[in-house]
């Protein structure tokens, strides 16, 4: 019998019951909750007279909708200017109080983007099943947890039953072999993967990321990679447990301690795919061949190396793809054949659940240290992923480096990644963004997004256009 993949192992351990039609009830260890996709779920519980199955399996924090200026944040809930946003954040507070769910609220130092907070608090543990009403829940797979996004009806279902109805997905292995060149990061790996397999390439799969280059990444880097598994169509991304995982978790507030920790670590060491495990699809990438990546279109698969040019739709044989490319270039206001490094930027956004952790901020700060934001940049902002990331960055003096260079230093939240709050990219403006989606209107109505790594965004901030980070001396 063939061995098991990491995904198979976690699935099997959580299987409550398998139905004849191929669906299964899977036990869920953790649910993370935020203000946007939960109000209707709590309302559903209330209407049906149901209580959470296990309140202590849930953790909530507001992130999508909250303001990031200190002025607004300093006044708590009352400080939120948009009345509809204020109601949504207040509704989360009220629901968590009513149903006995721990919330790291707006004024809690530990508040932040839910996918930054979970791992940081040790609420995310290897071998867990984790869900959240947010597609970027795939992030938590970096710690060897099976984690994926769900809809609001499923949020309610998990609250009420601690289970999710699922069909087993297929297994994909993405091997990133060899070593990355200096200046090339986790973000470039995942953009290169998406460029290779496309935004639907992972649909129906769980992707396990492996290989020397993945093993060499920190947990922060692995989170960046798993975060964007969904941008390749895969609901979940995974990285096997190793020393890096264990070292990251030790001593985190919600991680087990003492003897329980030792027992857990022993069990977690088995959270790797067996050497004879069978994958339905395998993709091989050479890390050394990966350059810093920049998206030029309106889908994450529309990506090019920084030394490249915007492709010409006329050269695309497939009519449907050609149409998509033409549409994208029209929206982006870009011409085929333009060198990536000639794309001029107006806005810079460093943040989001993809790239707002301490390592990301350190990388960006190294590039802007002692430099100034280019005159042509209208706004450059850094939004830390959580209150604790912000605190750590300030302890290291990173905030001063950013502020002196002319970037704004904000309060934690999702911010301009999806622009639900006031942080919006104006129509027609080009933004170098460390976020995850370059869809039409994503960062603001008519806004034009280019997805890049934190270092690349920082370099664009000081030069006003894309530059090859490998040519900028740190």
């Amino acid at each position: 019998m063939a061995g098991k993949t990491l995904y198979d192992k976690i699935w099997d351990a959580h299987l409550v019951t398998q139905r004849d039609d191929g669906t299964a009830l899977i036990y869920i260890d953790r649910q993370l909750i935020h203000e946007v996709t939960s109000p209707q779920a709590f309302e559903g519980l209330r209407l049906a007279g149901r209580q959470p199955w296990r309140a202590d399996a849930n953790l909530a924090t507001p992130d999508h909708n909250i303001p990031t200026t200190r002025e607004e944040r300093s006044r708590g809930l009352e400080g939120i200017k948009d009345p509809i946003s204020r109601i949504q954040v207040k509704t989360l507070d009220d629901n968590c109080r009513e149903f006995g769910i721990l919330e790291l609220g707006m004024e809690d130092q530990r508040q932040g983007i839910v996918h930054v907070v979970g791992p940081e608090q040790g609420v995310t543990l290897p071998g867990m099943t984790i869900v959240c009403g947010d597609s970027h829940t795939s992030t938590h797979g970096a710690l060897g947890a099976l984690a994926h996004g769900i809809g609001t009806s499923e949020v309610e279902h998990v609250l009420a039953t601690q289970c999710l109805l699922q069909r087993m997905m297929k297994n994909m292995l993405v091997n990133v072999n060899g070593r990355l060149n200096p200046g090339v990061t986790a973000k470039d790996i995942v953009l290169a993967v998406i460029g290779r397999i496309g935004t639907a390439g992972g649909t129906g799969y769980t992707i396990e990321f492996a290989g020397e280059a993945i093993r060499a990444l920190s947990i922060e880097g692995r989170m960046t990679v798993c975060n964007m598994a969904i941008e390749a169509g895969a609901r979940a991304g995974l990285v096997a447990v190793d020393d890096t995982t264990i070292d990251y978790l030790k001593g985190r507030p919600f991680a087990p301690r003492g003897q329980l920790w030792e027992q857990a670590v022993t069990a977690w060491r088995d959270l790797v795919s067996d050497s004879d495990a069978r994958f339905d699809h395998v993709v091989e990438l050479d890390a050394e061949a990966i350059e810093p990546q920049v998206t030029w279109g309106t889908s994450p698969e529309m990506v090019a190396p920084v030394s490249g040019r915007i492709p010409d739709p006329a050269q695309e044989p497939d009519p449907s793809r050609r149409g998509n490319m033409e549409q994208a270039l029209k929206y982006m206001g870009l011409q085929p054949g333009t060198a990536i490094q000639d794309i001029k930027l107006d806005y810079i956004f460093i943040g989001s659940c993809t790239n707002s952790r301490i390592e990301d901020l350190r990388e960006a700060s190294k590039v802007v240290r002692g430099r100034k934001v280019a005159d042509s940049i209208e706004l450059a902002m850094v939004v830390p992923g959580s209150g604790l990331v912000k605190q750590q960055a300030e302890a290291e003096g990173l905030d001063r480096i950013f502020i002196e260079a002319g970037l704004q230093w904000r309060e934690p939240g999702c911010s301009m990644c999806l622009a639900m709050n006031a942080d919006q990219l104006p129509a027609g403006k080009h933004c170098a963004s460390t976020s995850n989606r370059n869809f039409e209107g994503r960062q603001g109505f008519g806004g034009r997004t280019h997805l890049v790594s934190p270092a690349m965004a920082a370099a664009a901030a000081v030069t006003g256009h894309f530059v090859d980070i490998r040519q900028i001396a740190h």
């Binding site: 009830l25 049906a48 867990m128 009806s153 935004t199 169509g233 507030p253 857990a264 998509n324």
Partner: protein
């Protein structure tokens, strides 16, 4: 949930691949704490020429005459014809809520993003997968014939064209059962409550570190 049986309706062709859920319902409308009222903002950034805001009077906004939803021949349509990877991106269930609130009952496409596909069934919407060639043929037929309608029969799992041709489609047995009977899935799962409790207690003794009393999130 509303029961689904047979739907006959005008087909609205949305000829674009990789339609994401931001496209279906932009973020500013996600601030609502209700499940209803999203219909007027379905495809908002393409349907109107200005930027939509929650609470605005949509009847006063300038329509984009080129967008399919605004063309007179597709008014009252209940079946959306789409291209591959429909519903990709964000997990927002507001996307199927907006489609449902507008009056869409069935979507036909060559493929869907997983989370969106799931979300449809939870809301009485039927997402049908047909091969690329058949979908392309339907696009052509819709373009040539004004008022082009299809009849979707979930029991027999067939689509019937105006010409009387039957096209078969697949649907997961359990989802079909839930749609036909308008079942509350939570209620169905809770019929297995004893089994869940039994699993939980075994899992707790096998992996006590996930149930750590001293360090578990508690209010």
């Amino acid at each position: 949930m509303r029961k689904f049986d047979t739907v006959t309706g005008i087909v609205i062709p949305l000829d674009r691949a990789n339609v994401d859920t931001d496209f279906i319902i932009p973020k500013q409308f996600l601030k609502s704490i209700k499940r209803t009222g999203f219909g007027p903002n379905l495809f908002d950034e393409h349907r109107y020429l200005d930027k939509g805001q929650p609470g605005a009077d949509n009847s006063q906004r300038p329509l984009n005459p080129d967008f399919v939803l605004n063309q007179p021949r597709y008014q009252g349509g209940t079946i959306l014809l789409a291209r591959e990877n429909f519903g990709c991106g964000s997990s927002r269930e507001h996307a199927p809520w907006a489609l449902d609130d507008y009056g869409i009952r069935v979507i036909i496409a060559p493929s869907y993003a997983d989370i969106f596909f799931n979300n449809c069934f939870k809301n009485g919407l039927l997402p049908i997968v047909l091969d690329k060639k058949t979908v392309s043929r339907l696009f052509e037929e819709v373009a040539t014939e004004e008022g082009y309608s299809l009849t979707v029969n979930l029991v027999s799992q067939t689509l019937t064209t105006p010409g009387g041709e039957d096209i078969a489609f697949d649907v997961d047995e359990y989802r079909k059962h839930c749609l036909l009977n308008g079942l509350d899935e939570i209620g169905v799962t809770l019929q297995d409550a004893d089994r869940i409790r039994e699993f939980e207690s075994q899992w707790r003794s096998r992996s006590p570190w996930y149930f750590n009393e001293d360090a578990s999130p508690r209010n």
